[in-house]
Symmetry: C2
Subunit: 296 residues, 2 copies
Amino acid sequence: MSGGQVHFQRIALIGIGLIGSSLAHVIRRDGLAGHIAVGDINSGHCAKALELGIADSAGEDVAEAAKDADLVIICAPIGAYASIAETIAPVLKPGAILSDVGSVKQAVLRDLSPHVPEGVHLIPAHPVAGTEHSGPESGFPELFDGRWCVLTPPEDADEAAVEKVAALWRSARSMIEMMDPEHHDQVMAVTSHLPHLIAYTIVGTATDLEKSLRNEVIKFSASGFRDFTRIAASDPVMWRDVFLNNRDAVLEILQRFNEDLTALQRAIRWGEAETLHELFSRTREIRRGVIDAKQA
Amino acid sequence: MSGGQVHFQRIALIGIGLIGSSLAHVIRRDGLAGHIAVGDINSGHCAKALELGIADSAGEDVAEAAKDADLVIICAPIGAYASIAETIAPVLKPGAILSDVGSVKQAVLRDLSPHVPEGVHLIPAHPVAGTEHSGPESGFPELFDGRWCVLTPPEDADEAAVEKVAALWRSARSMIEMMDPEHHDQVMAVTSHLPHLIAYTIVGTATDLEKSLRNEVIKFSASGFRDFTRIAASDPVMWRDVFLNNRDAVLEILQRFNEDLTALQRAIRWGEAETLHELFSRTREIRRGVIDAKQA
C-alpha cells in the first residue's frame, strides 16, 4: 500500500494560493511530476509561482494548464469550481484524474460531477491543514506533515486512481482517511467551520467597539482574544465559499451552539454557580482527548 | 520610577494555584521577601509549595499566613475573597498592603473594602497571564514575562504602596497599566471573558454530540476546534467566579456578540455572499493590530 513514490507526467494545479503552492513545493521536492502546470486567474500569482520555481509553466488560462495533464487538482475557492470544471472539461484527457483540496465535499460533487467527461476519474480530497496566511508566497512543503487528508471518492471510483491520489498525499506526509462526503461535511462543520464562524463573529464584535476600547482590546488581546484573531485572519473568499456551500451542516451545528450559549447566558444572569461549574469541568475532558490523540 | 528592587519582610500568598505559585517563584528567584508565607485551604497545595521550595511556611490557616505580613496577596478564586478578607482582617498589621490577582476588579473592591482595617492599603492588581493548567505544580516564574499587569488602586491610594506593588510586578517582568476598575472589567469582558465563554460553549456543544461524531471531532481538531479546547480547559472554579462577578459587562458584550452572530447566521441562510466577504475581510485588520502591538 504505502510502497514507492507515485509519479505523474504532468500535474496541473488550478489555483496557486496557500494550499496549491504548498502542494507544488511537495511535488517539486519529491520529484512527483515531470511538469508542474499552474493555472490561476491572478497573473501575479502565476508570476510568483514561476519565480519560486514551483511551476514549470503558469498562466491565466486554466484550460491551457489542464491540457494533457494526468492529474488536475483544483486548489481554488469552492465558488469557482463549477466554472473551472466547465472550462477545463473539454481538454481533460481520458484516464486523467481530477481532484481538489476543498474544505466542503458534497458541493464539490454537485459542481464538478456534471462536467467530468467519461473516462476521467473524479477523486475529491481535503487536506485538513492551513494557516492564516494566503497566496503563493505563503506556501511551504511541511504544511501537510502529520495532518489528515480526507478522500471522498465516489463508491464506484477506480481503485488505482484513488491510490494515486492517496500516494501523493502520503508523499506530503499526510495521514489518509476515507469518508463519505456527507459525513465529511458534518464533521468539518463542527471542528472547523463553526470555530471559524465564531472567531469571525467575536472579532467583528470587537471591531465595532468604540475606538478607545478597541485599542485596549488589542493591547490586552493575549488574555484569550488573540487566538480568535488568528483564526479570523483566514482567507475571506475561501471562507465565504465554505459557509455558502456547507450551509445546512453549519446552520444545524450553529443552532445547537446557540441553544447552549443561551443556556449559559441564562445561568450567568441568574447566578447559577453549579451550572457554570459543571459545564466548565466537563469541557476539560475533551481537551484530554485532543492531547491523547496527539492533536494538541 | 523603575529603580532598584523592592523588598518585603514577609509576603503572604493566600492561595497557591497557578498564579500564586508562579508569583512565589518570582519572589524566590529575585529574593523579594525575607519570608514567603502560604495560606491555602487545600493542604495538598500547601505541601506541594513547601516541597517546591517556594514557601517558607504553609498551612490551611490563612490568618496565620497573613499575620505580620507587610504584603498580603490574595491568589484565590474571586468567590472566596469576602470570606478570606473577613478571616484575615483582624491580623493585618498597620501599614500592610493587601493586594490580589483577580481577573475582575469591581467585585474585588465590593468584597474586600468593607473588611480592610484602617491603615491597611488596598491595592488590587490583575496580572493578565495564565495557562490552561492549574495548581502549584503548574507555576513557573516566566509566566508574567512581557505581559501586562493592571493595577486598579482607589483614587486616594497611598502612592508608596502603589509603587511597591508595581515594583513587585516589574520584577516579574510585567508591564504596568493603571486603570479604573469599571473600565478594567469592561475591557476584560471583551478580551478575555467573552472568548472563554464562547470556547466553553463550543466545546460543550461538541461534548454533547453522538459519541462517534465526537471522536472524529477530536481526531480532526487541528482544523480550528483545537484552539478552543485549550481555552476551555482553564480552571472551572476560577472561571465560574469570573462570570458570576463580572455579570453585567459579560452580558452586555455577549448580547452584542449574539446580535452579530444572528446577522451572520441569516447571511448564511440567505446566501448573502457580500455580507460574509465584507465581515471576513474586516476582521483581518484587527489581526494586524494585534501583530503590530506585539501581542501575537
